[in-house]
Symmetry: C2
Subunit: 340 residues, 2 copies
């Protein structure tokens, strides 16, 4: 017979279980797919997953941030030249921003403007280390991009970074037509994109003509099915337990992870702009992308889903032909929905 303490322990677990009715999937060996995947991407898919766990103090988180930024800042100027874009540092509404202008900016895109939020759990990739995606979009999409260097946790937890996003948005819609604008970003940048939409609705601000939340951090609770099915399959995030759960807690700073402004998937999507969503078959957050797509459609919105073969989280940002394909796809979507 089970003890009273056992029953209490079991009952206490029930409300926190995201999944029930378990079955076991045996150990498996995964190779790198060859068909319809470029050699460059095959290397990315075949790379060993990161092993570092979550830092335990604020100082360790910040050290990790600096360590991750270093190679990106070192390669920044080479990347910028290779992508043929100019980058100018500025502040908008008191928020640090980068204005990214492609050398090839055709006439029909001169009055268009894209707002970019970088990823990194709302903790990593500050300054120049966070603008590579903005440069990719400006270069392959031939549009001007403002990349927002929003404040990061743990120094500035939720909602500081989102407040920055709202402040920049409020400012740019004063001098630019919202119908000529789009907002985009990957992972936390996708979560920020969606959070900004919910905030803009709340505060009665105009919405952009389109959004591109790429494999978005739309659900910091990790309730999506792919958090189990792609656990250890994804070689980018690897698992929710490795870093994501701790990062979410650090960022939310006591707020319930189910609050819609923290995890936008739990928000009301009525009236959101047309959205293009990118992810990969091995993405730990595949379900977040898929559920966002369905929820936007169920809310009467326009939404497009693109899933790349074999890619783990955010690997369409790699140096591969699929990267150009991804950003040209987003650009085509923006071109279709934005005014001129």
């Amino acid at each position: 017979m089970k003890s009273r303490a056992w029953w209490i322990a079991m009952l206490a677990m029930v409300p926190t279980l995201a999944f029930s009715q378990t079955r076991t999937v045996p150990e498996r060996t995964l190779g790198v797919p060859h068909e319809l995947v470029s050699p460059e991407l095959q290397k990315v898919i075949g790379a060993a997953p990161p092993t570092a766990g979550a830092p335990t103090t604020n100082e360790e988180w910040i050290t990790r941030r600096n360590d991750m930024a270093e190679p990106l800042i070192k390669n920044y100027q080479v990347n910028r030249e290779r992508l043929s874009v100019e980058v100018e540092k500025t502040t908008i509404a008191g928020v640090n921003c980068f204005v990214i202008t492609p050398h090839n900016l055709p006439q029909q895109n001169q009055n268009r403007l894209l707002i970019h939020f970088h990823g990194g759990y709302y903790i990593f990739f500050s300054g120049e280390s966070g603008i590579r995606e903005g440069m990719l979009m400006a270069s392959y999409g031939h549009m001007k991009v403002i990349s927002v260097d929003y404040r990061l946790a743990p120094e500035h937890p939720f909602p500081a970074g989102q407040d920055d996003a709202v402040a920049v948005w409020k400012a740019v819609v004063q001098t630019n037509k919202p119908q000529n604008m789009a907002v985009f970003g990957t992972s936390a940048g996708g979560g920020m994109t969606l959070g900004l939409m919910l905030r803009a609705k709340q505060e009665g601000l105009p919405l952009p003509a389109a959004i591109a939340p790429g494999t978005p951090a739309s659900d910091l609770t990790g309730s999506g099915d792919s958090y189990q099915t792609n656990k250890y399959v994804d070689n980018s995030l690897v698992s929710y337990d490795r870093l994501g759960a701790a990062a979410a807690k650090l960022y939310a700073n006591g707020h319930d992870l189910k609050e819609p402004l923290v995890s936008p998937i739990f928000g009301d999507f009525t009236g959101l702009p047309p959205a293009i969503i990118l992810t990969g078959t091995r993405d730990l957050q595949l379900s977040d992308a898929v559920n966002l797509h369905r929820k936007l459609l169920r809310s009467g919105g326009v939404a497009e889903l693109h899933v790349f073969e074999g890619q783990s989280h955010a690997q369409y940002l790699a140096n591969a032909p699929e990267t150009r394909e991804a950003f040209e796809q987003i650009a085509a979507f923006f071109d279709h929905h934005l005014g001129r």
Copy 2:
């Protein structure tokens, strides 16, 4: 030191390896997702996977077919009444067909016609056991459907069934406008849909206005990444080894599985009609759907991808709210692309 025989064996394996650079994914426990999945679908996702392997003789394959058909034929009339459709048996160009007419057939759909091919490895689901999907489409899409009871392996291997598809298509375009028509089907039915498009191009026949190849059997070689990542995760097909590899060989009857008419993913997709593609995050064939989507777009086509949370292969055909959603999504796509 390895023996000479070992090296010869290893080298002999190289050209047949679909995947390389292996790494190991540990044993895992999978639960049923709760978020954004209906209770009805949760039951389907939580069901135990089938354990039966591949039959070894033609007689055993046919016995399996009959065993699988029995409950479907038993429920056929109840399903038909519940879905409010009429079904009439006929032959077109000598091929057995079912004409499925919904009780609710609005004026704007009276001149539209959908052609359906059922799934089942090109081996299973003959006669009334193969028309449930056709009835779902007619009922939820409010359009008339002809479900083609094409010839099946092992009695009639490739290309017999495809010849039937071509014969029916040749006949129906005589009396119906191709621009008012669409072709659809799931799994082998999706493969048949794509194979028919390639044959129609070859033979100079008109193409329909749209197609809906659902989680298509577009690659019988099993080269897609999800054949490894969703192996044992999928509780519908389970694994390529369980049944699919043997079924593909039986159907192809000596033909190379890479022939485009056997595995359409290897064909030329230029000029194919707009396509809507459905699959699920747990689908063993997720990669086939994803690769089809990308290849259609890369060929300059119009294509939409829909991935359902937690679903294994073809589970949008279950009795769940997501089923209606799936077929209403296809119907909206057809409505957009078909003439009247």
